[in-house]
């Protein structure tokens, strides 16, 4: 299934379908910057050697909103749903779905749920000790 003309995005959503979050990491010596979304070159050092890594899926809620008014009829069945910005432990920030009861600063882990035309990451409270 094709979700985007961008090959990086295509790979991201394919992995999400299989329950993984991937990001890019710069391979240049002394850099190693994580990058999300993945791009052909490193934001920090402009290096062109990047490798795709799998994130552990754990992180911290940076902000969260609860959408009660979805953009289309097709998505109305899911409302209300939480959309969060999550700071992953690997050092990058991403948007994803989240349990609407979460608050800023909460420790979270990724689960994967169907939403609209695809499977999306959805963060829930991390219960592990």
């Amino acid at each position: 299934m094709s979700f985007s003309a961008n090959p990086h995005a295509q790979a991201f959503w394919q992995h999400a379908q299989e329950g993984r979050i991937i990001f890019a990491r710069c391979c240049a010596d002394h850099c190693g910057a994580p990058q999300f979304p993945p791009k052909p070159r490193c934001d920090v050092c402009d290096g062109d050697r990047l490798e795709m890594r799998q994130a552990t899926g754990t992180g911290t809620i940076f902000s969260i909103t609860v959408v009660h008014r979805p953009p289309s009829d097709a998505l109305r069945q899911y409302a209300p749903y939480g959309i969060a910005l999550v700071d992953l432990d690997e050092g990058f920030r991403m948007m994803a779905h989240a349990d609407p009861r979460l608050t800023i600063g909460a420790r979270v882990r990724a689960t994967f749920v169907p939403f609209g035309d695809r499977t999306v990451p959805r963060f829930v409270a991390d219960q592990k000790p």
Partner: protein
């Protein structure tokens, strides 16, 4: 420096049967009449994009249908900042000697020219098509994320946001062309239906039909003497998930450039016209620029500082929140109100006799900032 010689606004609201080109022409006619200029006097045309009338050459389409043959013309797009950005470019064009009189136009039948869902989906494209939009994100959701974090970081509350909404509606009630004029109470704002929490319905601007135009000239053309004294921009990100420092979205940077050019400071400003797509937008802009201390916008609203008789009259036309939002024209209405206030022509809304005004436009999700300082000379 350039003069804002003429301004024009159509009524904002639901105008079934209206068209984008019709609203553009109505607003342009009013602005040219106000400036006292005829078609042959206009040698530059800038117009904003229109979501209901996408075109690769909208300014030329408009010029042709309106009967203009300018020496300089193109459309511009910087989201909600487009209007102030057009005014900035128009003033550069006349300052450089390239043009004598530039007509700038922003109009759209955004409310009646498409369904509400279409409008919401089109606007959501300000977000990242691959990493934000697929989550069912909307413009209110992006601003909901801003609101939640900002409230957490700076102590702003739901009550503070509601206080700003109440003030904008009270202002709009005095403007015959405003979209929403029925006053509401603080309690009604707090209880309005959730859209993208913490934002509720009355924290969000409406979707309107409407048009706004201005003529920016090298020389005065009538009795008004409102000059562009300084302008500045900043563009630090496009997508909210990419914004790095949430205390530095670019608003202050744009303002600093405008103040430096005008050789003025915050204390010199007597009138404010600040972009307010959502209550949180208004609070964040006022506070980042420095007109109000962090987290104190609601308190300032309740203390009456933004009223006609206050020390910082703000968006006396009612802002996007209540005058309405037709896209590019919505962000131009702030400029128009500032021009009318500075030239003493705001009627029931006139707040004393200000000589200076600060105007701010914001595009995307606090992504593009354009600041402008006006002065009556």
């Amino acid at each position: 420096m350039a003069y804002i010689a003429g301004v024009g606004t159509t009524r904002f609201g639901q105008h079934p049967g209206s068209t984008t080109s019709g609203l553009m022409a109505d607003a342009a006619r009013l602005a040219m009449e106000d400036a006292g200029l005829a078609r042959r006097d206009i040698d530059g045309v800038l117009c904003g994009y229109a979501t209901t009338m996408p075109h690769i050459m909208l300014a030329t389409v408009f010029a042709e249908s309106f009967g203009l043959r300018p020496a300089y013309a193109h459309a511009m797009q910087a989201g909600g900042a487009t209007g102030v950005a057009m005014a900035m470019l128009a003033s550069i064009l006349v300052d450089s000697g390239r043009c004598k009189a530039v007509l700038i136009v922003g109009a759209e039948n955004r409310a009646s020219g498409q369904t509400r869902d279409q409008s919401i989906q089109t606007l959501a494209q300000a977000g990242h098509p691959d990493y934000e939009v697929p989550y069912g994100a909307t413009i209110p959701a992006y601003y909901g994320l801003l609101a939640a974090r900002y409230m957490h970081q700076f102590g702003l509350t739901q009550e503070d946001l509601a206080s700003l909404a109440v003030v904008m509606r009270r202002h709009a009630a005095r403007h015959p062309e405003a979209h929403l004029r029925e006053p509401f109470t603080f309690e009604q704002a707090m209880a309005s239906k959730p859209i993208a929490l913490p934002l509720r319905l009355l924290d969000c601007c409406p979707i309107s039909d409407g048009g706004v135009a201005m003529v920016i000239t090298r020389d005065p053309t009538n009795a008004t003497r409102v000059k562009v004294r300084g302008a500045g921009q900043a563009h630090l990100h496009q997508h909210i998930s990419m914004a790095r420092d949430w205390a530095d979205m670019g608003a202050r940077r744009a303002a600093d450039l405008a103040f430096a050019e005008a050789r003025m400071g915050l204390k010199d400003i007597q009138h404010l016209a600040v972009y307010d797509s959502f209550t949180i937008t208004l609070a964040m802009l006022l506070e980042e620029i420095g007109f109000i201390a962090r987290g104190k916008s609601g308190e300032a609203a309740r203390a009456g500082r933004f009223e006609i008789g206050g020390d910082m009259p703000l968006n006396l036309h009612g802002g996007l929140l209540s005058f309405g939002h037709c896209g590019v024209g919505g962000g131009m209405a702030h400029l128009v109100e500032a021009q009318r206030q500075l030239s003493g022509r705001a009627g029931d809304r006139q707040a004393g006799a200000p000589t200076t005004a600060y105007v701010h436009g914001d595009g995307g999700v606090m992504s593009s900032h354009v600041a402008m300082i006006l002065e009556r000379v």
